[in-house]
Amino acid sequence: MVKRIIAKQENCIGCGLCEVYCLVQHSKSKDVVKAYNSERPKPISRVTVERNKPVSFAIQCRNCEDAPCVIACLSGAMKKDEKTGQVTHDKEKCMGCWTCIMVCPYGAIKMDKEGHVIAKCDLCQGFDEPACVANCPNEALVFKEVKK
């Protein structure tokens, strides 16, 4: 069993708070005003609310079982953690070739154009719950164990 984030479309109101909390969580300052206004390189939200009114839902890395990004990665930055089932990204190794973006079926990988690397969900390592899940006002994001 591995833990994954599940999106519940019928609960999502498209508010975009998950993006805000994700961006702040992945900023250096952890301050919403600085994170949005002044911090460089610009912090990036790794979750995107996809909208097609009235439908909306959040997308972030789904940690695929046979993750295409891991196989396609040109630099070895993308790896699959066999124990946790998580797809991890090593920013130091990343060459910003965008190959993972080309093959991610969810369109869940973001470009950090300033940093010339990609940015993806890391499930907020070290915290009980990812920031997007913890701060969703309508429980449209759930973090739970699923079968591999």
């Binding site: 909208r51 839902f57 630099s75 070895g76 965008w98 093959v103 991610c104 079926p105 969810y106 010339h116």
Partner: protein, 426 residues
């Protein structure tokens, strides 16, 4: 003697080792490589030349990779002959390595057209880390200031950007009328050519180098090139970056069937029992053109190597196929090109285009019978993977064609049934 012998220690070899170890944790593996540096990222050699990546960053696994997988590595040794009856590989060091299962992952070698003067000091190819190291050393030693890059494809553009970043003045010479012609159509190519020119590169198309000239007073060193239409361009370096051809020497004239590359079935087996081939040397299945071909691309080499590895270790696995697909990061213009991106006139194909040329944004989809068969994305690649998913799974897009090229294209604009099938939502 090893149960599994792999010739070549790059992408296909790495993929095979990882797959074999998933199935067979203890069977002996020997990897033979004529390089002294292995499991490095070949696509990163341009970052090495530009100074952005060092050897540590280029290691695409980790320095314990062979040890962790209990692999015997025969580095700096060249496989010179095969004995398919005796099941051995002959090395230039005199050793003979016996195998039960053999993988030929010898890769590609740079294609260099016969050109007068190509033996001069200052002419390089651009495929391996040693090429990159030699170029970097040459620039440092001679204060080279100008370079000619022969080839306006993927390799050419990568080395052009790297040399520019090192401060050299670069001229790119491309035989075709358009650069990146295997990846982009005329419009996409024009966008990129303008960007490259703006960055300071001199781009010459429709010509090639007919002769490499010597330096005045030192004819053995590169001093310039003579182009096919008669112009002379002075330079300190010439980089031959046209492309690669399968490195098939080891099996030439033998029983292993070769077409352009080594012919394999969908399990990566050659026509000879217990001999497999993967990566740039192999002719594997392309699901868009529905036939086998050589496709020298890193992700496909890893995937093909994995399929070979599983099958060698006894886990029957079929290759799902690949196609011509690349993403480009050069000159800060992200590009994705997949499949029939630049097809010839064909009434059975439908083309959808969306462009914002002022901002260098260009999106083109090629459809056949309402199925995506080709993709070009310039400066709008973030959801490329969704389009690739539709292409690869031959999804009929008739009902949502318009959405595909709209700016707000995402999973939210695709049918609910598909969202649920892919568990995008619950």
């Amino acid at each position: 003697m090893a149960k599994y012998v792999i010739v070549g220690a790059s992408a296909a070899g790495i993929g095979a080792v990882e797959a074999i170890r998933e199935v067979d944790p203890s069977g002996s593996i020997a990897v033979i490589s004529d390089e002294t540096c292995t499991h490095y990222s070949r696509p990163m050699i341009s970052d090495f030349v530009s100074g952005k990546a060092d050897a540590k960053k280029m290691d695409c696994r980790n320095n314990e990779f062979w040890k962790a997988n209990n692999v015997e590595v025969l580095m700096g040794k060249k496989a010179t002959a095969l004995n398919l009856t005796e099941k051995t590989v002959q090395l230039d060091s005199g050793e003979k390595v016996a195998y039960e299962k053999l993988l030929l992952a010898t890769g590609g070698k740079p294609f260099v057209p016969i050109t007068e003067g190509s033996d001069k000091d200052g002419v390089f190819t651009f495929t391996t880390i040693s090429d990159a190291q030699r170029i970097a050393a040459k620039i440092e030693a001679t204060y080279a200031k100008t370079a000619i890059v022969v080839g306006g494809g993927l390799i050419g553009i990568s080395v052009t950007e790297a040399l520019l970043k090192r401060g050299l003045k670069v001229t790119m010479v491309e035989l075709q009328d358009k650069i990146l012609s295997l990846l982009l159509d005329a419009k996409g190519s024009d966008i990129m050519e303008a960007v490259i020119r703006k960055a300071g590169v001199n781009v010459i198309t429709g010509q090639s180098v007919q002769k490499i000239l010597g330096k005045p007073g030192n004819d053995s060193a590169v001093g310039g090139v003579l182009l096919t239409k008669g112009d002379q361009v002075p330079c300190d370096l010439v980089i031959m970056a046209i492309g690669v051809v399968p490195r098939t020497e080891l099996v030439l004239g033998g029983a292993v069937k070769i077409n352009r590359g080594i012919v394999v079935d969908n399990m990566m087996q050659t026509n000879v029992a217990d001999v497999y081939a993967s990566g740039d040397v192999a002719e594997a299945y392309d699901f868009i053109i529905n036939q086998n071909r050589t496709l020298p691309l890193w992700p496909l080499a890893i995937l093909e190597g994995r399929v070979a590895g599983y099958n060698m270790a006894g886990k029957k696995t079929t290759y799902c196929g690949g196609t011509n697909m690349s993403s480009l990061k050069y000159f800060d213009v992200p590009i994705v090109s997949i499949g029939l991106a630049n097809p010839k006139e064909d009434p059975t194909l439908e083309v959808l285009v969306k462009q914002d040329l002022e901002n260098n944004v260009y999106k083109k989809l090629v459809l056949r019978n309402n199925i995506i068969v080709g993709i070009i994305l310039v400066n709008c690649i973030e959801r490329a993977g969704i389009l690739f998913y539709l292409l690869k799974n031959t999804v009929n897009v008739k009902k949502f064609k318009k959405q595909l090229i709209s700016e707000d294209f995402s999973w939210a604009t695709l049918p609910t049934g598909m969202q649920r099938k892919m568990s995008v939502v619950q």
